[in-house]
């Protein structure tokens, strides 16, 4: 890896102030300056300024993403669930190599958002970027990443993203066309495995499969995949679960060198232990040993507002994001935690562009598990969710406003589960300033 050179570049530029590289073509430099100005203007006007800078720069130089990425070692993180957490953990781990790592942790994960991140952290020699999975093929082609982390491919916003096999097939073609690419990939997900096998090299990670509802049909031949109780899977065409180099079982991470390490993360749940496994495997690939990574993984307590606990009145509100059936299943499993009181639950589901328009997926989520919790429902899809809960025989109240829903809950611990835009609203209004 070119990390020694990368580190040298950082040393040459102490302070890591934002500036354009002299190696960039004039057009790209102009695009970067314009993008920076647009982002600052936007922020001055009270907006986030996250994407506008990237959009401005891409308009002035359509090759901006490729040219900005060519300057550095790029890791892309993609998949339906876990992108933001895994990218954050990986970026923290790679700080071992470089004082500054470019990233888009605030979730702007389409191409303009990536350009914005690379402009903002102009001198960072390493970039860890999460990528919305439908855009992964074009981003892989543009940035020539050192590694791609592919976490999982499950149903999500079927009206916008499309069906999982089409998404996976496009990713597979992009991997096949990328020379020298290493993919850090989930051995338990057949759609991921079939795509990753097209790359030059794979590092397999396994943490058990939570949701296999989208992986019953072989992506290579269309036959039914046979699953065994131990998690092994295979198809008659020969596609099968590869042997993982890194495995996560309960809280123990097993590394290729035969070591076993207790993760002891601050973040809850099986899915986050798996995310940490991916981050550790990726860091190892780029030359950062597990011993140097563990403290970084454990120090992650809050991922752009997710898992954060905020206090409002007599409530301790934990913010949880869940966007699709696989994500909701994992998140519902995090609700029961030690303590005398079952938390109240606020469910906030919107149906805006970033959420998908078809609410049918609510019926794939095992909301029956919420029986016994005090449940409040809010958001654009409150009526759909209320009907779902009625049929699940889960008592609930529909409330018009998100903060009013929190205030209406009995005092004590409260878990707020929200899909994408509802989560943004919750983070902004309950944490302030987002």
């Amino acid at each position: 890896m070119a990390l020694t050179a990368a580190r040298a570049r950082v040393r040459q530029r102490p302070g890591c102030t934002v500036r354009t590289s002299p190696a960039l073509p004039a057009r790209t430099r102009l695009a970067v300056v314009a993008g920076l100005l647009a982002g600052r203007l936007s922020r001055c006007c009270g907006r986030s300024g996250t994407v506008i800078g990237g959009r401005t720069a891409s308009a002035l130089d359509p090759q901006a993403l490729a040219r900005l990425a060519a300057q550095r070692t790029v890791v892309l993180v993609s998949g339906t669930n876990g992108k933001t957490t895994t990218a954050l953990m990986t970026a923290r781990a790679l700080r071992h190599h470089a004082a500054s790592v470019a990233s888009n942790h605030e979730g702007a994960n389409m191409p303009d958002g990536l350009v914005a991140a690379l402009i903002r952290d102009g001198s960072a020699p390493i970039a860890v970027l999460e990528v919305d999975e439908p855009y992964l093929p074009q981003v892989v082609a543009a940035v020539r990443p050192a590694a791609v982390v592919l976490l999982n491919i499950t149903r999500d916003q079927l009206d916008r993203v499309g069906e999982t096999r089409m998404v996976a097939a496009r990713i597979e073609r992009a991997f096949a066309a990328a020379p020298e690419l290493t993919v850090v990939a989930n051995a338990d997900d057949p759609l991921v495995v079939a795509a990753a096998l097209a790359a030059a090299r794979q590092v397999w990670v396994s943490g058990g499969s939570g949701w296999i509802g989208d992986a019953r049909v072989c992506p290579q031949c269309g036959a039914a995949i046979a699953y065994q109780a131990d998690g092994h899977w295979s198809c008659r065409c020969g596609l099968h679960r590869p042997t993982a180099a890194w495995t996560i079982c309960e809280d123990v991470l097993s590394a290729p060198d035969g070591s076993h390490t207790a993760l002891r993360l601050a973040l809850p749940g099986r899915a986050n232990r798996l995310n940490a496994g991916f981050a550790a495997a990726t860091a190892d690939l780029l030359g950062v040993p597990l011993s140097a990574v563990l403290d970084q993984l454990r120090a992650v307590t809050d991922v752009d507002g997710r898992y954060r606990t905020v206090h409002r009145g007599d409530h301790q509100v934990r913010l949880l994001l869940a966007k699709n059936p696989a994500g909701w299943q994992e998140t519902l499993s995090m609700l029961d935690r030690p303590g005398p009181h079952r938390p109240s639950v606020v469910l906030a589901v919107n149906a805006r562009e970033a959420d998908g328009a078809d609410p049918s997926w609510l019926w794939d989520v095992p909301f029956e598990q919420l029986g016994g919790h005090e449940v409040l429902v809010v958001g654009d899809r409150a009526a759909d969710l209320a009907a779902r809960l009625a049929y699940a025989e889960v008592d609930h109240r529909v409330v018009a406003d998100l903060v009013a829903a929190v205030d209406a809950a009995p005092p004590g611990p409260l878990d707020l589960l929200a899909n994408y835009t509802a989560f943004r609203e919750a983070a902004r209004r309950l944490c302030g300033g987002r």
Binding site: G213, R216, A357, W363, D364, A383, A387, Y391
Partner: protein
């Protein structure tokens, strides 16, 4: 048949055709029976299970192309569903499920796959995928209230003489063969393109199927949550004209 023993609801191929939340239809059917004091249970029928002909009602959902082909092969080879329909069982088939129960359907690569022939319809491909909210008026006097749902499909379905349309589309695409029809009924087999799931949004359709199964008048069931949901779905269409 009067339900002296529990009503058995066969959930066909949830592992292959369960992509769009349609398994919820089975949950709705079971719950609407239980709330009326009629015992009911779900019988999951995965692709590695033979389809028993003994269920009273079967539901089949939507899914991706390759899963749809696999599901069709399985149901044709198994024969259990066809025998069940032959002895009067009720079937609800949604989206890909509707296409599977027809005479034939075309896949994305242009292959024509023979269906089960339980609904008199054939399905070709649409140039542009139909994605969005649907509002439709019943085309049968078995139903009185509008149907609401969400469609997401690439099929153009033409009904044959032995299939009646379920509804006429007011907004959305539906069957997509330029006759503004939505869904199909042949005997006690009902097909529709509507997700939502369709029975969660349209309790009258759920009770039509359950009435066929139980053979007795069903007591009315007021669910304020469903009333509110329908008001939002149907009202929104009207307000948009």
């Amino acid at each position: 048949m009067v339900a002296e023993s529990a009503v058995r609801i066969g959930v066909l191929l949830p592992d292959l055709l369960g992509t769009y939340g349609d398994t919820g239809n089975a949950v709705v059917l079971r719950q609407r029976l239980r709330w009326r004091g009629i015992a009911a249970h779900l019988v999951p029928l995965g692709h590695d299970t033979a389809v028993p002909e003994s269920c009273d009602l079967y539901v089949l959902g939507g899914g991706e192309d390759s899963a749809q082909v696999l599901a069709t092969r399985h149901l044709n080879a198994d024969g259990g569903l066809r025998r069940a329909v032959g002895r009067g069982a009720v079937v609800l088939a949604v989206c890909a499920g509707l296409q599977v129960l027809g005479e034939s359907f075309a896949t994305a690569d242009g292959t024509t796959v023979p269906g089960l022939g339980l609904l008199d319809l054939t399905t070709g491909r649409r140039a542009v995928r139909a994605v969005g909210e649907v509002l439709a008026a019943p085309a049968t006097d078995l139903l009185a209230t509008p149907l609401t749902g969400f469609e997401n499909h690439g099929g153009a379905t033409a009904l044959g003489p032995d299939a009646r349309p379920l509804a006429h589309v007011r907004r959305g695409v539906g069957n997509g063969s330029n006759d503004r029809t939505e869904g199909a009924i042949t005997g006690r087999v009902v097909g529709t393109y509507l997700h939502g799931p369709v029975l969660a949004r349209n309790p009258e359709l759920a009770d039509l199927l359950l009435g066929w199964v139980t053979g007795i008048p069903l007591t009315p069931l007021e669910l304020p949550e469903v009333t509110a949901l329908r008001a939002r779905c149907i009202g929104r269409h009207r307000s948009r004209g």
